[in-house]
C-alpha cells in the first residue's frame, strides 16, 4: 500500500515537473494559438519568454493577430505597437531572427494606418515615408515598396493641386517649381495624369511669364487635359505671333486650335493682318535696298545679305500676295548677276564660285558655266587651292572649258572675229557632229587660216591651266593631289565624250556627282552598251558611279572590282579571301563582260609574278596560287606558273635540307596535277617519289601511310605519258636495292611479288622484309618496269610462234 502511495506521489511530482517544462508550456501555448485563444497563450508565453527560443515570436504573433481582430484603429495600433515593444525584452539573437518578420508585418500595418490618416497632406505623407524608410521591413519589402509608391502617387496629386493654387494667384515661378516636384513624384509612381498635366501647366506658366518656349517633341502635351491643351496652344500661338513667327503660328492654329471660337477667329485675323504688315515692311526694305543699289551705295557684303534674304521673303509674301512674291523672285537673277560681277571684278573668286554653285541648274547656262571657268582659273592662279577645295575648282574648270557651247559664247562679245569662221571639227567637247544648233559663223569644216579651230582654243586654255598646276603649287603633296585629280577628271571626261553620240551636257565625274546628274551620263553609257555591246562605254562610266547600283556600268565596275579584290588578296597573301570570292555568282558577273573575263588570267598572273619577284621562296604564295587557278576559268598560264614555282621552291628547300621529302612530295603532287606533262615537274616529282620510298626503306619517316596514299593516287590512273617516259629512275632504284640484297645474301625471290619461286621457297619474310618488299613493289609499279616486262613478254610470244616452241619452255 505504501508502495502504491509512493508511486502515486512520484507520478504526481513527475506530472507536475513535465507540465512545468518550457517545451510543454510552448506546446500548450501553440495549441491555444491554434484555437485563437490568444490571451491565454500570451500568459503562458510571457512565462516562458526567456526559456523558449520561439516564445517571443509566438507572443508577437498573438498580439499581431489581436491587432488584426481589433475593430478600432487606436486599439489596432496599440496591439501593433506592443508587438514592436517585444523586441526590447528579447535577449537571445535566435529569438530576434524569428521575431523580425512578425515585427515587420506589425510595422507595415502601423504605416498603412498612418497612410490612411494622411488624406493627401504633403507633410504627413513625407513623415510616413520617413517612417517607412527607417523601420525593419524584413519579409515585407514588397508591401512596403507598394505602400511607398502610393505615397508618391498622392504626393504627385497634392503637389499638382498646390501648384495650381500658386498659378491661380500668379506666383508662376513657385508654381513651376511645385509642378516639377509633382512631376518627379508622378514619374516615380506612374501617375501619368499628373505627369502629362504638369508638363502642360509648366509650359502655360512659362508662356504667362513671357518665356520663349519650344513645343516641338513634347509628347506629354497630347495626353494632358484637353482644356489645358487649348489654353497652352492659344497662348503659344499668341507668343509666336508677337515674335513674328507667322508660319509656326499658322501651323499651331490649323493643327491644335481647329475648333469654332470667336477668340480663335480673332487670332487668325490678327495673324493675317500681321503677315500683311510684315510683307509691306519687307517690300519697303527691298525698295530701300534697290534704291541704294541704283545709287551704287550698297557694299558687296550688303548686297550678299540682300540676295540671301530674298528666298525667305518670297516665302513669307507669297501667301499674302502671289504677284508681289513673283516680282521679288524676278529680282534674284539681277541681284545674282550684280553680286557675281562684283565678286569677279574684286577677284573674290571663292565667293563667286560659291554663289554660282548655289544657283539652280547653273550648268545649263553657258554664261554661268563660262564665268565658273574664269573663277576657277582665277582662284587657281592666285594660289588658293587647298586639299578641301581643289576637287570643286578643277572639276569646274574642266567642265567649263570642255563645253563647246561655253567657248562659242565667247564669240558673242567681240567684233574682231567677224571676218573669221570657227570650226568644231577638232573641238574637245564633242566627238561627233552632234551640236544641232550652232551660230552662223560656226561649222564642222576643215581648219584653215580663216576657219579657226575651237579645239585649238580649248587646248590653249587647258595648257595655260596645266602650266599653273604643274609649276606654281609649292606644296608637293597638294601638287600631287591636284595633278593626279586633274588627270583623272580630264581622262574620264574625254572618255565619255569619245563614246556618247547624243548631244548631252558633258561634265567631269566630280562635277556630275556633285550636281546630281551623274546617273544621266551613266544611263547614256548603258544605252550605248545595249546598242553596240561596247564595253568601253561601261569602262568610261565607272568614275561616274555614285548610288548607281542598278546600272550595267555598275555591274561592270563590280566585276572589275572582284578582280581587284583578288589582286589585293594576292598582294596580302590571303588565300581565304580569294576562296570566299570564288562563288558561282561572282564568276557569272565576270563572265558577263568579255573585256574583263579575257584578262582575268593575265591580271592574276602579273600580280603573282610581282609577288614572286619580291620573294621567290614564299610558301604562303602556294595556296594563294592554287586559289587563283580555281578562280580563273582560263588558267593554263597560272598552272604553268604555279607548277614551276612549286618545283623551284621544293628543289631549293630539299637541297638546303630545309624541307623534308614528304612535304616536298605533297607540294609537288599539286604541281604535277597542274602540269602532268611538264618534264621538269614530272622528273622532280618522280625523284621525290624515290626519296620518299627510300625514307620508308631506311626508317627515316613517320609519314609512311601518308606517302603510300599519295603513291596510290599516282598509281590510280595518274601516270601521264611524260611520267611513264621518265619513271626509269624508280626501276633503276629497284634493281639497285635487289642487287644490294643479293650481295648481302638475301633470297631476292622472296621480294618478287607473286613469283613462282617466292611461293615455292616456303620461306616467309619478317616485318622488315615485308617493308622492303612493299617498297620494291611500289618502285616496280610506279617505275616503267611493268611496261618493259610487257614488251619482253610480247617478244617471247612472237619467238615461240616463230620457232614452234612450247609455251612452258623457259626463255
Amino acid at each position: 500500500m505504501e508502495i502504491i502511495i509512493v508511486l502515486i506521489i512520484v507520478a504526481i511530482v513527475g506530472y507536475l515537473i513535465y507540465h512545468s517544462l518550457p517545451n510543454t508550456k510552448f506546446e500548450k501555448a501553440q495549441n491555444l494559438f491554434k484555437t485563437k485563444n490568444y490571451v491565454q497563450a500570451i500568459n503562458i508565453l510571457n512565462v516562458i519568454f526567456d526559456k523558449h527560443v520561439d516564445a517571443p515570436a509566438k507572443l508577437a504573433e498573438c498580439k499581431f493577430n489581436l491587432g488584426n481582430q481589433a475593430s478600432a484603429k487606436p486599439e489596432k495600433v496599440k496591439f501593433f505597437n506592443e508587438v514592436v515593444e517585444i523586441r526590447k525584452r528579447i535577449n537571445k539573437s535566435e529569438s530576434i531572427t524569428k521575431f523580425e518578420s512578425i515585427e515587420a508585418k506589425a510595422l507595415f500595418e502601423i504605416a498603412l494606418i498612418q497612410y490612411e490618416e494622411t488624406k493627401g497632406d504633403i507633410d504627413k505623407l513625407n513623415q510616413n515615408i520617413k517612417f517607412i524608410d527607417t523601420v525593419n521591413k524584413k519579409g515585407s519589402e514588397s508591401d512596403f515598396s507598394s505602400l511607398k509608391k502610393k505615397h508618391f502617387y498622392d504626393l504627385a496629386d497634392s503637389h499638382f493641386k498646390k501648384a495650381t493654387d500658386k498659378e491661380k494667384s500668379d506666383k508662376l515661378s513657385e508654381a513651376i517649381q511645385i509642378y516639377n516636384t509633382g512631376k518627379d513624384y508622378a514619374e516615380k509612381s506612374d501617375n501619368k495624369t499628373v505627369k502629362n498635366n504638369s508638363v502642360t501647366r509648366i509650359a502655360i506658366c512659362q508662356l504667362k511669364r513671357n518665356d520663349k518656349i519650344n513645343l516641338d517633341d513634347v509628347s506629354e502635351i497630347g495626353y494632358s487635359d484637353k482644356s489645358y491643351q487649348k489654353e497652352l496652344y492659344y497662348r503659344y500661338a499668341i507668343q509666336l505671333l508677337r515674335n513674328k513667327e507667322y508660319t509656326p503660328a499658322e501651323k499651331v492654329i490649323s493643327s491644335n486650335l481647329n475648333f469654332q471660337s470667336a477668340d480663335i477667329d480673332k487670332l487668325s485675323e490678327i495673324l493675317k493682318a500681321e503677315k500683311n504688315n510684315n510683307a509691306v515692311t519687307k517690300i519697303e526694305e527691298i525698295n530701300t535696298l534697290i534704291e541704294q543699289l541704283q545709287k551704287k551705295s550698297l557694299s558687296t557684303e550688303e548686297l550678299k545679305v540682300f540676295y540671301d534674304s530674298l528666298d525667305k521673303t518670297i516665302n513669307e509674301v507669297k501667301f499674302i500676295d502671289i504677284q508681289v512674291s513673283e516680282k521679288i523672285s524676278a529680282l534674284k537673277p539681277t541681284l545674282f548677276n550684280r553680286l557675281l560681277t562684283q565678286y569677279i571684278s574684286a577677284e573674290q573668286f571663292g565667293n563667286a564660285i560659291s554663289i554660282i554653285q548655289k544657283y539652280p541648274k547653273f550648268w545649263e547656262s553657258p554664261e554661268l558655266l563660262k564665268n565658273l571657268g574664269i573663277c576657277c582659273y582665277g582662284y587657281t592662279s592666285k594660289g588658293l587651292l587647298t586639299e578641301r577645295n581643289y576637287q570643286t575648282v578643277i572639276s569646274g574648270w574642266l567642265t567649263s572649258v570642255f563645253s563647246d557651247r561655253v567657248i562659242l559664247k565667247s564669240l558673242d562679245d567681240t567684233t574682231w572675229d567677224d571676218n573669221y569662221t570657227f570650226t568644231l571639227v577638232e573641238a574637245i567637247g564633242s566627238n561627233y557632229s552632234q551640236h544641232k544648233e550652232t551660230p552662223d559663223n560656226v561649222n564642222y569644216d576643215e581648219i584653215s587660216e580663216s576657219n579657226i579651230s575651237i579645239g585649238a582654243t580649248q587646248k590653249e586654255l587647258l595648257q595655260q591651266f596645266e602650266t599653273i598646276i604643274h609649276k606654281e603649287i609649292q606644296d608637293a603633296n597638294l601638287s600631287k593631289l591636284v595633278n593626279d585629280f586633274y588627270d583623272k577628271e580630264k581622262e574620264a571626261l574625254e572618255n565619255i565624250i569619245s563614246v556618247i553620240e547624243k548631244d548631252i551636257f558633258f561634265a567631269t565625274p566630280h562635277f556630275a556627282k556633285q550636281n546630281g546628274f551623274n546617273n544621266e551620263i551613266i544611263e547614256e553609257l548603258d544605252n550605248d552598251y545595249h546598242n553596240y555591246s561596247n564595253e568601253e562605254a561601261l569602262e568610261a562610266g565607272v568614275p561616274y558611279i555614285k548610288n548607281s547600283n542598278s546600272t550595267v556600268v555598275y555591274q561592270y565596275f563590280y566585276a572589275n572590282d572582284l578582280i581587284d579584290k583578288v589582286k589585293a588578296a594576292i598582294n596580302n597573301e590571303n588565300s581565304i579571301a580569294i576562296k570566299n570570292l570564288n562563288t558561282k555568282e561572282n564568276k557569272q558577273w565576270i563572265e558577263k563582260f568579255d573585256s574583263i573575263s579575257e584578262l582575268v588570267e593575265d591580271k592574276l598572273f602579273n600580280s603573282i609574278s610581282n609577288k614572286i619577284s619580291e620573294d621567290d621562296e614564299n610558301e604562303k604564295l602556294i595556296p594563294v596560287m592554287e586559289e587563283c587557278i580555281l578562280f580563273s576559268s582560263q588558267n593554263a598560264k597560272l598552272k604553268h606558273q604555279y607548277s614551276n614555282y612549286v618545283a623551284n621552291y621544293c628543289i631549293s628547300k630539299v637541297n638546303e635540307n630545309e624541307m623534308d621529302n614528304f612535304k616536298a612530295l605533297s607540294l609537288m603532287k599539286g604541281a604535277y596535277l597542274c602540269s602532268p606533262n611538264n618534264p621538269k615537274i614530272v622528273k622532280n616529282f618522280i625523284t621525290l617519289i624515290r626519296f620518299n620510298l627510300m625514307d620508308i626503306l631506311n626508317d627515316r619517316t613517320r609519314k609512311m601511310n601518308e606517302i603510300y596514299t599519295i603513291l596510290d593516287w599516282v598509281k590510280k590512273n595518274n601516270m601521264s605519258q611524260t611520267y611513264k617516259q621518265n619513271s626509269n629512275e624508280l626501276s633503276t632504284a629497284r634493281q639497285e636495292i635487289l642487287q644490294q640484297l643479293k650481295k648481302a645474301g638475301a633470297d631476292i625471290s622472296l621480294f618478287d611479288e607473286g613469283t613462282f619461286s617466292s611461293i615455292l621457297s616456303g620461306h616467309s619474310l619478317n616485318s622488315q622484309g615485308l617493308k622492303i618488299k612493299k617498297v620494291l613493289t611500289y618502285l616496280q609499279e610506279l617505275g616503267n618496269e611493268q611496261e618493259f616486262s610487257n614488251a619482253l613478254d610480247q617478244l617471247r610470244r612472237r619467238l615461240r610462234q616463230q620457232f614452234n616452241l612450247d609455251d612452258d619452255l623457259p626463255f
Binding site: 502655360i204 487635359d225 504688315n277 508681289v324 574664269i374 565667247s410 572675229d417 579657226i452 590653249e460 595655260q464
Partner: protein
C-alpha cells in the same frame, strides 16, 4: 598668265594694226618685259589663242533692269494686345 589685252592696253575689238601699234607703244613704256609684250602680241594675232584670251572676260548675263517693287498692299492697323490671353483659362 597675264591678260594680253591688259599688257598691250588694247580693247577686245582691236584689229591687227591696232595690236601692232600697241606692241610698239608698250615696248616704249617698258611697263612689261619685252618677252611678255611679244607673247601678248603673238597671242592676240593668233585667232585661236585670242579666243582663249577672250574666254577670260566674264560673260554678260542678260537680266532685267532692277526696278522697285510696286505693290497694292497697305499697312493694317492691328494690335496683338487686343487678344484676350485668358480666353481659354483652364484653371477657373
Amino acid at each position: 598668265m597675264k591678260n594680253p589685252y591688259t599688257i598691250l592696253g588694247v580693247n577686245q575689238n582691236a584689229v591687227k594694226a591696232e595690236i601692232l601699234k600697241a606692241q610698239m607703244l608698250a615696248m616704249k613704256k617698258k611697263e612689261f618685259s619685252l618677252q611678255e609684250i611679244a607673247i601678248a602680241a603673238k597671242q592676240l594675232l593668233d585667232p585661236a589663242k585670242r579666243l582663249a584670251a577672250d574666254f577670260m572676260f566674264p560673260a554678260k548675263i542678260k537680266v532685267k533692269r532692277i526696278q522697285p517693287i510696286q505693290s497694292t498692299l497697305t499697312h493694317q492697323e492691328i494690335n496683338v494686345n487686343d487678344l484676350n490671353e485668358n480666353a481659354f483659362n483652364s484653371l477657373k
